[in-house]
Symmetry: C2
Subunit: 327 residues, 2 copies
């Protein structure tokens, strides 16, 4: 793993013009997958990641790394894929292009921790190209981001997470934290609930200007993931909880399911492009609960939590401005 | 309740031409709701149905009856609604009409029993009209059906359920069991899993010919619901089960969630037309589980169960043709 990263580091100073971006991105996300899986595996004594390699009839495949029943992670998946072939008809219509080959590669992860005080997290780093010649694609773009879905949100966790992404964005011309945060808020939103999925993060898609700069940005963002999340997980992993907190966690996970199945473009693209169902749906939480018209009583930690499911300017909030139980 | 039904019975012989079909259907589904809720309530000692009335800003409203944590029903909802107003834009596009008022009324129910040996069941009876004048709608149609989603399917349950619907269809010119069964199989299908949601039943939609005949058919179908399901529930309610069966039930419920959120037109219509989210999503199962790449070992009752998740000609199967554990 270390070797892969060092090799990529030398590429930073000498952008390769003899290797398609598609392949550089594939190599990067696969190395990142190893780094993230190892770090999480080291921190979980209850279970280990299992790795599945799969291939797709029309071209390409992926590597699915899943952990279940861990002590830190009740369920988690860190997947990479690199798929290619003729563009599915519905996507050709959406992108308004004639039939063309496509190439898509990326890493996508979702971690559902066991302890309800640790947030669920999602991140992805994606590249998409259209055309026959990957060295000169007809069109190409980058997408990705990272967002946090706490059950019992804390201002400090929320600010830590956002600060990491702001710092990464601030170091790259191609990135804009304010814009990416807003896109994240708009994307991870459940209209039928009139609520945000969580406390957001950053989200970007269809970024086309300066592919070389976008690749470096994607790479730094990918590498910042562990820094954005592990300190939060470590801070709460030994906090004690009971049935009440577990039940609320399961109800909130229901919103996660609703978002992913009703609105998420990645899930739809995956299912429509003949992606591997089990890899796409590894994002589903382990144990979920739906109760009719569940509304936390005001003054409870659960009601305080819901204050966070509206987009806010997290980095500029002070402890005085948030519900007491969430400081 | 009894009175309402008797009044409706007299209407059968004397079709009313001074009351819009929309109102006759609304009155019928509300009476049916009372009948079904009472019958289920009588059979559940653990909990009672709670009734919520709601209204919709643009016009109309509904009655949601929900039971949770019962001994027979872990969760169940029997809802009626009658909503009207300007047709939402997306639906106007779908139906290829200009802006027009619509009126939609119906009953929709989903019952998630506690015992994994009892199937989940879903049924609905719907009427839709377009235009300003409900006495002379520009367009009107009926839809509905009933389908069974067992966890541990039994041939006898499956045949009982289908036989009830075949008998009802056979008594009505406007209905065709074979066609409605096939529509059901096609509708309740998960392409990404390549499997049926359950063992089907009947499904029909956009039926326009002979509204009077369709109303009588809808009414008889609605009244046959209890006969189609209660004997199955009674047969299995005291069957003993353990953690294994409960876990399998929760995993299969995940498929139910996937279908409803990804494919179900009723759910989409409801969420888009500004329906009441909690009433629409009362169909969600209570406790659900997703495991990565869950595949039952061959020779187990769970593997036998999965034999049923492919559409078959249930009424013409014999015990010799089905897996032993499902007889």
């Amino acid at each position: 793993m270390g070797d892969d990263f060092e090799r990529l580091d030398t590429l930073r100073e000498n952008p390769r013009d003899d290797i398609p971006m598609a392949h550089r991105m594939k190599r990067f996300v696969e190395a990142l997958q190893i780094r993230i899986v190892r770090a999480l595996d080291d921190r979980d004594d209850g279970a280990s990641f299992e790795v599945d390699r799969w291939s797709r009839e029309e071209g390409g495949g992926g590597i699915t790394a899943v952990i279940e029943d861990g002590d830190l992670l009740e369920k988690g998946g860190v997947n990479t894929s690199a798929v290619h072939g003729p563009l599915p008809e519905r996507m050709a219509r959406e992108f308004d292009v004639d039939e063309a080959p496509f190439y898509a590669t990326g890493l996508s992860l979702v971690l559902h921790p066991r302890n309800p005080y640790i947030p669920t997290v999602h991140a992805n780093y994606r590249y998409f190209a259209l055309g026959d010649d990957l060295m000169n694609p007809v069109d190409q773009w980058f997408g990705g981001g990272a967002d946090l879905t706490p059950y019992y949100p804390r201002l400090s966790d929320t600010q830590h997470f956002h600060q990491v992404w702001k710092d990464v964005c601030d170091r790259h011309e191609v990135a804009d934290y304010e814009a990416f945060k807003q896109e994240c808020d708009e994307y991870f939103y459940l209209p039928h609930r009139n609520e945000a999925r969580g406390v957001g993060g950053i989200f970007y898609d269809y970024l086309r200007e300066d592919p070389e700069g976008l690749f470096f940005f994607s790479r730094e963002a990918g590498r910042a993931f562990l820094k954005s999340y592990l300190p939060i997980a470590e801070r709460h992993r030994d906090e004690s909880y009971g049935r009440r907190e577990k039940s609320y966690q399961r109800i909130r996970r229901g919103r996660y399911v609703e978002f992913n199945l009703v609105y998420d473009r990645g899930t739809k693209f995956g299912l429509e492009s003949g992606g591997r169902t089990e890899s796409i749906l590894m994002s589903m939480p382990p144990q979920v609960q739906w109760r009719y018209d569940h509304t936390p009583e005001s003054g409870t930690p659960e009601a305080d939590a819901e204050w966070y499911f509206t987009a806010r300017d997290w980095l500029n909030l002070t402890e005085e401005e948030v519900p007491d139980s969430t400081v």
